[in-house]
């Protein structure tokens, strides 16, 4: 019922909209009073939602691991035991991304999840998190998330869908599932597995398909080739002396569990360092930290594997390894002196460290290469020591690409009447040769479950909003099959359903709620309530991992050689590689501002994707940097800007997937909202037969200049600038080899010589209490960017947009500087995280006319936002240029009612900065204060490692260590005391508190 008279203007009114009383407002009022509370978006019932959320938090706080019911939501007249308002609590959950499940620990503040870190109990996290985990909070609070189901594009209520589903699926059940198909995205969930089996029993004529555009099918199929059954491979990097990565980013987003093991092999102080060889077509994080790197087209990597097998088999026999070795390939590139030398060095090193080596093939390499790698590891005696195997749980699953092709064929043939799409976005991310959307038009009824109303949703007859993983119960398996629990942190903001809930609805049997489904699945294992609670609390089910097995090798097929093994630029045929984007993955994160604005590991590009090309290839083809090009392969072409990137393999073009979304939202691009897509859709060029790399590609430039929003090298650097950079690099990023290090462990101290540095005045602060410091080990940083997103989340750092990044106004408090050493044709990349150095003689503090940046008694260089008037003098005087200025009100969008939900992602312990003030890294002062208060209340000293900065906490390799320098036993004090530790630009006498540990490369003397 409307309380507003339709005819008259009200005498008293609360808003101009009410006074005007136009139809839009009347609709809003009706909506507000008509809709059930659960289905009301926060923008239409803010107060209620607030009470709900508050209630939710109290219910949650009272009983860890219980999903709160709506009837729990009571005013806070009696405080649940142990709950302190304003004090953060931590809960374990799991995020399953494309079948890779990682256990997480979520910080919840008054019932709102606001920060995510890794769960140390989970084998695939070990306490670390990647950029996607960090950014998932922003996904949860995305105002573009779908608030309601739609039927043929029209908003309807969830009840309408329930009625439809009941009728429709009952009828289908009668027809034994004739014409019913499910297309699920990859999931490791035991519950989904169980429901899938039930589904196939209940609908015997139906079929189940799974598709994931970025997947590890090749590894799975390769292990099946090698062992007859698919297996998961695990690497023990800690024990490894020689690691050979064949087009593999071992430390990539799905390899954070390798961080600690990798880091252990990067400490020259301990004496033993691993040696990493990387052979890859474009620079990866692992390439940055490798000791030797050979840029090579992806299609040629198989030949290297074959060559390794041929050479190693010649000298090493292993009775367990049956079958013939690969014949030494006759590839032209193998005759190249540099390649020859590289391979023979690798062979020698692998043979010298039998049982302590690892050979690993990347997910983009074909199954045969993976199979040969298994053989190599077996030959070298690595299996059981550095390489272990566990069986795959879901053996019945088919290859994703084949599964999708089969489904598309069925759909196109009109065999499918009902299609249920569980997550995923196949209309957007199917390979270009699979016309999924055309086939979808032939399907009568299609249901799409997703967080957003994306490309697939708008092509389906039904769309059902999905519950975010932070809103729903679920379960998942790690790579070694450890079961972990997905625990909700908040009631679904938009009343969505999880995939297992939708499946239960389709099945119409068994428990219908997520908690019930999970309990039913894990009941046998965790029937006892006590065990269940422990599993929910820990996030993982203890002892659920699969034990390692030693599968027997089979005869290997030969690795197919590409058409051309010589340089292909001459005949105009280039290789094109399709890669998951380091920020947007397959495109699912297009609408997350933090990730769009995350500088790419190598190119430092934000808000765009480009074709990467080697400088020599560019020169040969007459292509200028940052121009528009046409890239074509297999008769299809796209228009995409080109970026000349040192470190790219010659004759290989790298394309990143995940851009060019048309239905992502206000950030990623939306046709409906009139927002242009960000970047270019490269799926069009991808075909299901060449999912990862394709030969015969072409690139032509039309010479039209394009503005690319990079955060480094913003303007073409002239020769004088390049020379100066090369001259400075040894002073900024100090590096040596292990051999040299053993002779001169203090080599970093000799990079810069300066006279004795004296102070003009006496130390104004005695630092008699704590003295905070940070140590960054350059040997361990692989530029994974997790710290950057973690800092965004922890410190409420705004996203500024492409235009402002172009102007140089990005706001990141921590950045990872990337430098190239050497000539552009043959470079070595180095990464250096830079954040505020908290100088004891801070140049910024001296020049602020109003004293808005001050030195604390503990040596922090504090920003007083209230006092700052924004002269920006501090930024000019900062030699590290780490200060960021709010040129505008970067939170202006929050004024729109629709975006109010975004405020829930803010960390209430950190001020949201206004327009016109300077900001910068605080060493996470809020975290310091929290621990100090806790320690003071308990009358105990602060333990070393108790305070972790956000960047440190998420870092998979432990490259960042924070602590008290006054505590001589603290890790940071010990690290800063080692000879490898140096302060960058110390010659300026600024006395920074951040010290770097120089890079030490364990180079092979044979390769120089």
């Amino acid at each position: 019922m409307s309380s507003v008279d339709n005819e008259k203007k009200p005498a008293f009114w609360r808003s101009l909209a009410e006074y005007e009383n136009n139809p839009a407002f009347r609709k809003f009022v009706e909506h507000e009073f008509a809709a059930p509370i659960e289905d009301t978006a926060p923008n239409s019932a803010e107060r209620r939602r607030f009470i709900q959320l508050m209630g939710a938090s109290f219910a949650l706080a009272g009983a860890t691991g219980c999903r709160w019911e709506e009837d729990h939501m009571l005013p806070h007249s009696r405080r649940p035991e142990g709950a302190v308002p304003g004090e953060s609590r931590y809960f374990a959950t799991t995020m399953d991304m494309g079948g890779n499940a990682v256990g997480l620990r979520v910080k919840s503040y008054d019932g709102r999840p606001i920060k995510i870190d890794g769960n140390p109990n989970h084998p695939d996290s070990l306490g670390a998190a990647n950029v996607f985990h960090q950014a998932s909070v922003l996904e949860l609070y995305d105002p573009d998330r779908s608030p309601k189901p739609t039927r043929s594009g029209e908003d309807v209520e969830m009840a309408d869908f329930d009625i439809f589903a009941k009728k429709h699926f009952s009828a289908l059940r009668g027809a034994r599932g004739q014409g019913l198909r499910v297309l699920a995205s990859a999931s490791s969930s035991p519950s989904q597995y169980r429901l899938r089996q039930q589904f196939l029993t209940a609908y015997p004529m139906a079929a189940w398909h799974e598709y994931e555009p970025i997947n590890d099918d090749n590894a799975r199929d390769g292990s099946a080739l090698a062992f007859g059954e698919p297996h998961v491979t695990h690497y023990n990097l800690k024990a490894a002396k020689v690691i050979v990565c064949l087009d593999a980013d071992l430390l990539g987003p799905s390899g954070i569990q390798h961080g600690p093991g990798f880091a252990a092999g990067r400490e020259p102080e301990t004496g033993d360092m691993s040696r990493i060889y990387a052979i890859e077509s474009s620079y990866s994080g692992t390439g940055i930290v490798s000791d030797h790197r050979l840029p090579l087209r992806s299609e040629l990597v198989g030949a290297v594997a074959a060559q390794l097998d041929a050479e190693i088999s010649r000298v090493r026999r292993n009775p367990k390894v049956v079958g013939a070795a690969q014949a030494a390939p006759t590839a032209a590139f193998l005759k190249d002196e540099r390649v020859k030398k590289f391979i023979s060095a690798v062979v020698k090193d692998l043979l010298d460290s039998t049982g302590n080596g690892i050979v690993v093939a990347g997910a983009q390499q074909p199954p045969e290469v993976h199979a040969v790698v298994h053989r190599l590891n077996a030959l070298l005696g690595n299996v059981g020591r550095t390489v272990t195997y566990t069986p795959v749980v879901d053996r019945s699953r088919k290859n994703y690409t084949e599964s999708l092709s089969a489904l598309v064929a069925d759909m196109a043939a009109g065999k499918v009447t009902t299609l249920v799409v569980l997550g995923g976005n196949p209309v957007y991310n199917s390979p270009g040769d699979q016309d999924f959307s055309a086939a979808l038009n032939k399907v009568e009824t299609s249901v799409h479950l997703s967080l957003f109303r994306d490309e697939t949703s708008s092509a389906c007859s039904w769309h059902v909003p999905m519950a975010h993983f932070l809103e729903s119960w679920g379960d998942a398996r790690s790579r070694n099959a450890t079961v972990s629990i997905v625990q909700p942190l908040i009631a679904p903001l938009y009343g969505g359903k999880s995939a297992i809930e939708l499946l239960a609805l389709i099945l119409r049997s068994g428990p219908q709620d997520g908690l019930g489904i999970v309990k039913a699945t894990l009941g046998r294992r965790l029937g006892d309530e006590r065990l269940w609670r422990k599993a929910v609390h820990d996030g993982v089910v203890m002892a659920s991992a699969m034990g390692p097995v030693m599968p027997a090798l089979k005869e290997m097929p030969l690795i197919a050689m590409p058409k051309h093994t010589e340089s292909t630029v001459g005949n105009g045929e280039l290789e094109i590689t399709f890669n998951a984007d380091a920020a947007l993955h397959d495109g699912r994160y297009s609408n997350i501002g933090w990730l769009q604005e995350l500088p790419d590991t190598m190119t430092k590009l934000t808000w765009d994707n480009v074709a990467l090309i080697h400088p020599t290839t560019a020169k040969q083809l007459g292509i200028r940097d940052a121009t528009m090009t046409t890239v074509s392969v297999g008769g299809k072409s796209i228009q995409i800007p080109v970026m000349v990137s040192p470190g790219q393999a010659e004759d290989s073009i790298r394309l990143n997937l995940g851009y060019g979304r048309t239905h992502a939202g206000v950030i990623g691009g939306s046709v409906k909202g009139g927002i242009a897509p960000v970047g270019v859709d490269t799926y069009a060029l991808r075909s299901s037969t060449a999912l990862h790399f394709a030969s015969g590609g072409k690139i032509t430039s039309n010479g039209e200049a394009v503005l690319l929003a990079t955060t480094q090298d913003k303007h073409a650097i002239d020769q004088a600038g390049i020379d100066a950079t090369q001259e400075r690099l040894p002073m900024l990023v100090r590096q040596s080899t292990l051999e040299e290090y053993k002779k001169h462990p203090d080599f970093v101290q000799h990079a810069v010589h300066h006279p004795k540095l004296l102070a003009l005045w006496e130390e104004p602060v005695p630092y008699d209490g704590h003295k905070w410091g940070l140590s960054v080990d350059l040997n361990k940083c692989n530029s994974c960017n997790a710290c950057v997103v973690a800092c965004n989340a922890e410190n409420n750092i705004p996203v500024v947009g492409k235009e402002r990044v172009l102007m140089g106004r990005e706001m990141h408090w921590i950045r990872i500087d990337r430098y190239f050493k050497g000539p552009p044709e043959d470079v070595e990349a180095v990464a250096q995280p830079v954040t505020c150095h908290h100088c004891d003689h801070a140049p910024c503090e001296q020049v602020c006319p109003v004293g808005a940046t001050m030195h604390s008694r503990e040596g922090l260089n504090d920003m007083v936002y209230n006092r700052c008037i924004g002269t920006r003098y501090c930024s000019n005087n900062c030699p590290y240029k780490v200060r960021r200025f709010n040129y505008f009100n970067f939170h202006e969008d929050m004024k729109q009612e629709k975006n109010a939900v975004k405020a829930m992602a803010f960390n209430p312990e950190v001020t949201v900065r206004v327009r016109g003030v300077m900001e910068k890294c605080t060493f996470c002062v809020q975290r310091i204060q929290n621990v100090k208060i806790k320690a003071k209340n308990a009358r105990r000293p602060i333990k070393d490692g108790e305070i972790k900065t956000a960047c440190q906490e998420t870092c998979p390799t432990g490259a960042i260590i924070f602590g008290d320098l006054n505590d001589r036993q603290s890790q940071v004090a010990r690290l800063q005391a080692v000879p490898r530790s140096y302060a960058m630009l110390a010659e300026l006498n600024v006395r920074p508190r951040l010290k770097y540990m120089g890079r030490v490369k364990n180079t092979n003397p044979e390769l120089g």
Partner: protein, 454 residues
Amino acid sequence: MAQITHYSQWQDAPAGDNEFAKITDAVVRVVETPRPPPAWYMAFALALSWLGILQLCIGFLFWEGIGIWGNMHPVAWGWPIVNFVFWVGIGHAGTLISAVLFLFRQNWRTAINRSAEAMTIFAVICALLFPGIHIGRPWLPYWMFPLPNQMDLWPQFRSPLAWDVFAVGTYFTVSLLFWYMGMIPDLATIRNRAKSTLRRFIYGALAMGWRGSSRQWHRYERAYLILAALATPLVLSVHSVVSFDFATAQLPGWHTTIFPPYFVAGAIFSGFAMVVTLLIPARQFFGLKGLIEMKHLDMMCRIILATGTIVGYAYAMEFFVAWYSGSHYEGFAFINRAFGPYAWAYWTMVSCNVIFPQMFWFKKIRGNLWAMMLICIVVNVGMWFERFVIIATSLHRDFLPSSWGYFIPTPFDFLVLMGSFGLFFTLFLLFCRFLPIVAIAEIKSVHPAAHGDH
């Protein structure tokens, strides 16, 4: 009392026996004439419209944020600070002419000192505008003043910006007093000649009861001398302090000890160039060729030549010291200036400030109004570029190559700079219309008629 005669307006001063009366007439009739020439109206309309644009820009700036300018990371100071230093520099000639040349008994200064002082005041007003609006929260510039408050918050006195507040503030105050005090006898003259009551009242109030008695003259001259002595160090101090903004920072390209003298020389250089730029048209339009003579302009050209050469020497010295220091960062800052992405700005600066003024070695050039005018405008352009070069080229590439960038101004940068000229010319044209643009009393004291056998 001078005889009231009807001249055809805006023509050359009448010939007559009484030289003093001629001088008074020539100056005061500019104020007394009911209608200024059409050129004045046109110029005033133009200046006023630019002032309006300035106001709109500032209004938008308050609304939207200072991001409307091109300032970025790492070039956090852009055109607003360039403009600030530029205008402060322009404001130098006034005090130099009034105070220093007065103390050195350079009598030729009397022809130009009033307008030069006025120019100083207006230039400093333009300069003062910029620190206020360039800050991120432009409604809070008063936090830089030492205002007692209950929170006991004071400016941070180690910051050169805090020194600036005092240096420029003092300079402005003293210049204003000096200018106003010097005008009192002339204001009294206008009062005496006023026909309407309103006019008599306003100029009477401004003249502060000046009667021209010997006692008043005696005190006036003492006070003038004292103020001149007080103002003299300011000529050196204000731009030295402004240069500390850069010199005390540790940025390569800023951190040099040569800055204070180099800035002062540059300021006098640009200030004199601006005076010439203004006086050539003024003496033309207001018929003051008899008072502001060619020999005065010639003297000014010589000063421009001298200071321009000092500035050129400073440029060369900067390079030498950067090389001699052996510091990589310092050396690169200067290589980058001359050959980096901003080389165009650097060479614009060098040609405008060093090469063009050298033409003043030729007497012919010093006698040609067009050439003089052109060179002086070029010098002003060059001096603006000097500040741009110092600020932008040093900041855009400092220590860490990862943070290097390239500053590009936005349309607002241009509009605000043009708008500040609108403000300057509005004030200057009002001055020309309502106040005596030549120091009547002073010029009489050095006139031959005051020392002859009469």
